[in-house]
Symmetry: C2
DNA sequence: CGCGATGCTAGAACGGTGTTCGATCAAATG
DNA sequence: CATTTGATCGAACACCGTTCTAGCATCGCG
């Protein structure tokens, strides 16, 4: 019969009991941190904390923070439903898809900021490319335009989505301002400009700050879609 | 007659001889650092080094790095010539201006990256807004579209300008890749995708990587301008 | 002239960042 | 059992933006 180990030997330097690390677990934790603290709060240390370990442990599964962000973007991209493409309805379908991306960006504030200045090439983003190409080629849009239009739309999505999740500005006194207050402040600034130098800015100030971000998003979207439509088969 | 000071007294703890700090001097130094080391290399410490001082000294003249970046953007914006607006030629003039912004971005690599996710409101950018509004309103484009189109164009400029100044990728072996090699690598990756899942991506891969960045820039520009033209007075 | 106020310069430090090194431990393999 | 392999992680490196605080130089004023 074996002699039982003394209690100080049984668990000499036991690891903190938790699920083993994995690329998936790290990605899950990163999504939680991102949804909770936004893009600025996403750091390797925070993600490691979320998993009860240190930052160095992440680097076995993920090459760099950059690579982790690529994973995040592709996971989020996978959340957008892609209906069966029907080129006859290409404009409506494109619009629906873009609005879908926008709602997913709203569900994960911070991820739009991560896409800025990045050319994602994950599997799900490739599916986007394939899907938009089916629609646009089916609509008779020339390949040269169609291939670039995907980039253009992605770029527009990232920039507008980022604008929608900007952190609230802080007033001079220090307390955070509501979006309405921020808009009112900027409106006041634009309206106060010298009318002789900026007559058109001053006189369109009402138009400039009317409508919420969603309306403005659709406004720019209309411009792009009309431009694309001018290339489509008549 | 006054007794001359002994030599060790004349300059007891003389400051390192140099021009005094000022907002302008800091901005100049920041531009030099930015042009030399890119957006990633722009730090308060580097700018201070450039001036032979420490980072703390900058904060008397500049509230924060963010404020300094706003100054940089507005200075660069001022480098773009704005011809007298002629609404009859609004499309050509808009295109010329946009290409002008692009060449200025090329002259100052890194500044495009700084504009990402930022809504600049400096004096020179306001002049841009006024100028584009004159053109578009003169062309009969409705105010609601015209006010937003400026944002849209700025956004497009920033994103494409950033893409044009991306640091060269590094291959798996570590040495930097030329833009051609990078494109060839990505082309190869896209071409190697399973043709049954991504038939359109695979078959448009030639179109996708044809042309340089300037041609691609004008391609997207055409889409936007055509969209805007669809709102113009017939 | 003296003297305090003011504008300006900085050294040191705080709390954070991404990433690397090397030791260590557990499980699988020979 | 011995050795290799995969995985973990504490400590440290080189940065970052920013703040605090002490001190200097100059100027206005009594």
């Amino acid at each position: 019969m074996a002699i039982p180990d003394p209690p100080w030997k049984t668990a000499p330097r036991q690891r903190p009991a938790r699920a083993p690390l994995s690329r998936e677990a790290i990605l899950d934790a990163a999504m939680r941190v991102l949804d909770r603290e936004g893009a600025a709060g996403l750091s390797m240390r925070r993600v490691a904390d979320e998993l009860g370990t240190g930052p160095a442990s992440l680097y076995w599964h993920v090459a760099s923070k950059d690579a982790l962000i690529d994973l995040i973007i592709d996971r989020v991209a996978g959340e957008v439903p892609l209906p069966e493409p029907d080129p006859a309805r290409w404009q409506e379908q494109l619009r629906e898809w873009l609005l879908g991306v926008r709602t997913v960006f709203a569900r994960h504030p911070g991820v739009a900021a991560l896409t800025l200045g990045r050319i994602p090439t994950g599997t799900n983003v490739l599916r986007w490319a394939e899907w938009t190409l089916v629609l646009m080629r089916g609509a008779g849009i020339p390949d040269r335009i169609a291939t670039y239009a995907g980039d253009l739309l992605g770029l527009y999505l990232g920039a507008t989505g980022y604008e929608a999740t900007l952190p609230p500005m802080t007033s001079a006194t220090g307390e955070p301002l509501s979006p309405e207050e921020t808009a009112a402040m900027m409106r006041g600034y634009f309206a106060s400009l010298p009318a002789d130098q900026f007559p058109n800015v001053v006189s369109t100030v009402d138009e400039m700050f009317s409508g919420d971000l969603d309306e403005r998003f659709e406004l720019g979207l209309d411009v792009i879609l009309r431009g694309l439509a001018s290339y489509a088969r008549p």
